[in-house]
């Protein structure tokens, strides 16, 4: 039986992993073959129970619409979800996600995508005055929680997640990513330690245009989860990655923090360092810790976080997982292993190992601001 959702009797899913990210700051597009080659070098960092990719800039023709990728276990789930979608969204286009038969991916759910926007006169307007983004978030959570056999795994604009159970290079072939073009890519190779593979559990984990690939275990998961629940996030997947995505969503989209400040919440500087800063900075960082202490991600992690404005790669506050970065012209590469970068960029301009808690932030140049965004990036 295929598994879309985490129905195992565990509090949460734990895994070790390999990851990789590529961004071109001038939005020059490249095909998925590059990142496939890079992540395949990290083959041994996974065990074939999860691989996936996020790509940005791949849906140029539908850039203003929310692109929902949904996996279905059966067709009755599809019809009931579609009834919800039709009632609440204007669907401009829908189609089966292109896949190719490969010898490696034998069993898979039914994969469908929808390009759509929330209706202006949708029924929930009677009860709320949610913005489009908030409504999309609510819809994603509703479907993932309440619709058996259906799982939304991508919901952003001009971006998409492609993931499943298998090694990432096989997943790339399955989704024919060699033919897909984008100006930012992230990839993940998964090594789950306490559950068999499940399609929904593969990375990247996405919400709106946030995508996360993550290697690590969040030892503070318990409190991070309870903190998010206070803000009405529904943590149905029970994965660390889900927690990270929602914390970014809360901090950046809801509380208006910049990416830089958000990273200072996730990997907060130690008080012993804060105390040495000048007064203004000390005040700010102390307040961040006081207010967002429950959002501190504690424990080993390396993450690559993509969003419409760029990419962030970072480690936990004492660097307990590997992360290497490199630049070559307008390209920036990050990966768990330098070998992965060198596989596609043999002699980069610069290679370095980011320090604990210090993010690598790459933003696109000449950014076209998106409507309805609260963050100035």
């Amino acid at each position: 039986m295929l598994k879309l959702k985490n129905k195992f009797s565990i509090e949460r899913d734990i895994s070790g992993c390999g990851l990789c990210g590529i961004i071109n700051a001038k939005r020059v597009k490249i095909t998925g073959s590059n990142i496939k080659k890079a992540i395949s070098v990290e083959h041994d960092r996974g065990n074939g129970l999860g691989g996936g990719f996020a790509v940005y800039g791949n849906y140029r023709d539908y850039a203003e619409l929310y692109a929902f990728h949904i996996m279905y276990d059966n067709l009755s789930a599809k019809s009931s979800v579609e009834e919800y979608l039709k009632n609440n969204f204007v669907i401009e286009k829908e189609e089966t996600i292109p896949t190719s038969k490969t010898s490696k991916i034998i069993e898979h759910p039914y994969l469908h995508r929808y390009f759509m926007k929330p209706k202006s006169d949708r029924q929930d307007k009677l009860f709320h005055d949610l913005g489009d983004d908030d409504f999309v978030v609510q819809s994603v959570m509703l479907i993932n929680e309440n619709y058996d056999g259906a799982y939304v795994f991508s919901s952003g604009k001009n971006m998409g997640a492609f993931k499943g159970v298998g090694y990432p290079e096989d997943i790339a072939d399955f989704y024919k990513l060699d033919e897909v073009e984008g100006y930012m890519w992230t990839a993940h190779n998964r090594f789950p330690t306490n559950t068999p593979g499940w399609w929904g559990g593969a990375h990247p984990f996405t919400l709106l245009d946030w995508s996360i690939v993550h290697n690590g275990e969040i030892s503070s998961y318990g409190i991070n989860k309870r903190y998010l629940e206070m803000y009405k996030y529904n943590l149905s997947l029970k994965t660390d990655t889900e927690v990270i995505t929602y914390i970014f969503d809360l901090l950046i989209r809801k509380h208006g923090l910049s990416i830089e400040l958000a990273t200072l919440v996730l990997a907060a500087p130690f008080y012993q360092n804060i105390d040495k800063m000048d007064n203004e900075k000390k005040e700010l960082l102390t307040a961040l810790r006081q207010i967002y202490g429950s959002a501190l991600l504690n424990g080993p992690f390396a993450i690559v976080f993509g969003y419409s404005g760029g990419m962030v790669a970072m480690n936990d506050r004492i660097k307990l997982r590997p992360l290497v970065a490199a630049t070559m012209g307008d390209f920036t590469y990050v990966a768990s292993e330098e070998a992965a970068i060198r596989a596609i960029c043999p002699s980069p301009d610069l290679v370095w190992s980011p320090k604990a808690g210090e993010p690598v932030i790459v933003k696109f140049e000449e950014l076209v601001p998106q409507k309805g965004r609260v963050i100035g990036l």
């Binding site: 949460r12 734990i14 030892s219 409190i223 206070m230 501190l296």
Partner: protein
């Protein structure tokens, strides 16, 4: 009524002197606050009926000649009619009074902390070595905004716009529980003040006002306002780091207090601002707080009087409906809620209350934290858990259940020599803790015991760091409320549900 010439109540303990060892130095006579010992011409003799097993005499006997044993004379065993029932009946039939004692309940209720186990890292996440890596225990108590607000300076860098509500900064998540001058001696308070200052934590005046000698320790003191309003004036409110309104106490929820006139000497009368030798009676309720809206008025009266510069804490006993009550208190404007479980200590309380009223702190805390999160107001107030925190393990578990910090009272007194004899109410404490008799008080050296308190809290803090490291986190805020790191053993489904934790193995 004819006065009975004998009492049914037999000595609980026997003070036995080994006369072959005894050198008749008479230190025991001097040390015993209860008058157990006297000199019978050629040897020490003991009046067993006065012995409370406080341990002072044998601790200070240079010849090891004293042993205190439980009186082996039995009251015929009966599973239903236990010793304490029978003795209370005798006592009450002889006196017609309420049976009163000090410290917490002696009943053996289930201790939930002892049924909770902690998690540790293996393979998938590394544990962290606290000897080599920073391990943060710093804790801020007070209201936190739910989100940060920012401004930007000329360089476009973010600066803090939010005006942070006042906070108490603790270097380690412990505070000393409220124990008033009157219920304990000034020297005992001084020992805690010295330790609190050295540790970067706080002590609490209790409801007895602030003695002049403690004023220099203001930054490490929470001043309390209780129903008797003893020693409360404007300068008092402003002399500490925070103000606490005491509504209730775990050992005696719903009832007041009574410090008898004979304990009100000159110093206490000055500090409490009451006439010399008068009884200091704390009414059961605050007579200006008959409901939640009245509490709100007092909270804001105190905030006005302190120019909104001090966090206001509200201390309550853990009772059945505690979660809803705390939610109300948070909404009434309190910055800190201090919850005292039913095993908490006291200077004096009727046994009927102490042994039968209230609920365990573990259950109360778990429910309060959950309720505040459900209502989305957990950030509005910090939680202090109290009610017999016996070890750093209890503290870790309380914090993981949702407390910001824990308060220790009885443990601090044990540091000073207390053997938990439960006779605080008599004022004869041989250790100089719960007494105002000058010859007893002066034997408690604040500097000596201040250092021992410092040692205890330092040791417990190191132990917490070890646990955090084993769990793979390096900051106390990653443990706070992280119930996923707790598992229950020997608990029913109902108990697990209330605690919000899973059974071990799951």
């Amino acid at each position: 009524m004819i006065k009975s010439s004998f009492s049914n109540i037999q000595s609980e303990y026997l003070a036995l002197i080994d006369h072959t060892k005894c050198v008749r130095c008479k230190r025991c006579i001097q040390n015993c606050g209860w008058g157990t010992y006297s000199f019978g011409g050629d040897k020490i003799i003991a009046d067993h009926s006065k012995c409370v097993a406080c341990g002072r005499c044998y601790t200070y006997c240079p010849e090891d000649a004293i042993s205190i044993i439980k009186n082996p004379t039995v009251i015929r065993e009966n599973g239903n009619w236990k010793d304490n029932h029978i003795k209370s009946i005798w006592k009450q039939s002889e006196t017609g009074g309420i049976v009163i004692s000090g410290m917490g309940t002696t009943f053996k209720y289930k201790k939930y902390f002892d049924h909770i186990l902690l998690d540790a890292c293996q393979v998938t996440n590394p544990s962290i070595d606290p000897l080599r890596e920073p391990m943060e225990l710093k804790t801020y108590l007070g209201k936190k905004p739910s989100k940060i607000e920012l401004d930007f300076n000329e360089e476009g860098e973010p600066i803090l716009k939010t005006k942070m509500p006042p906070q108490i900064e603790l270097q380690t998540p412990f505070v000393f529980g409220a124990m008033s001058y009157g219920s304990i001696s000034l020297n005992a308070q001084k020992a805690m003040a010295l330790a609190a200052r050295a540790l970067g934590i706080v002590m609490n005046t209790g409801e007895g006002g602030l003695h002049d000698d403690l004023i220099p320790f203001g930054k490490n003191i929470i001043v309390q306002v209780a129903s008797g309003r003893f020693g409360v004036h404007r300068d008092y409110l402003n002399s500490g780091i925070a103000v606490e309104i005491k509504i209730g106490q775990g050992a005696k929820p719903g009832i007041g207090g009574h410090l008898p006139g004979e304990k009100i000497g000159l110093d206490i009368s000055r500090t409490r601002m009451i006439p010399l030798g008068t009884d200091a009676i704390s009414p059961a309720p605050h007579h200006d707080i008959y409901s939640i809206e009245d509490l709100r008025q007092l909270i804001f009266a105190i905030k006005e009087a302190t120019n909104y510069e001090k966090p206001v804490s509200v201390k309550i006993a853990a009772v059945h409906n505690v979660a809803a009550i705390v939610s109300g208190i948070v909404r009434a404007g309190a910055d800190i809620i201090y919850i005292d479980g039913y095993t908490g200590g006291t200077g004096a309380a009727p046994n009927i209350i102490k042994d039968h009223v209230g609920i365990p702190i573990e259950l109360a805390l778990a429910q309060v934290d959950e309720r505040l999160r459900e209502e989305g107001i957990r950030n509005e107030a910090s939680l202090i858990a109290a009610g017999s925190i016996r070890s750093s393990a209890d503290a870790v578990k309380a914090i993981a259940l949702g407390a910001d910090a824990v308060a220790i009272g009885t443990a601090a007194l044990i540091v000073m020599g207390c053997h938990v004899c439960g006779k605080c109410n008599t004022g004869n404490c041989s250790w100089g803790i719960t007494t105002q008799r000058p010859e007893l008080v002066r034997r408690l050296d604040p500097e000596v015991y201040g250092e021992r308190l410092y040692n205890l809290i330092s040791a417990w803090s190191h132990e917490i760091q070890e646990v955090l490291g084993a769990m793979g986190v390096n900051s106390i805020e990653s443990l706070r409320g992280s119930r996923e790191r707790l598992r229950g053993v020997e608990l029913t489904d109902a108990e697990l549900k209330v605690l919000g934790i899973k059974h071990a193995g799951l």
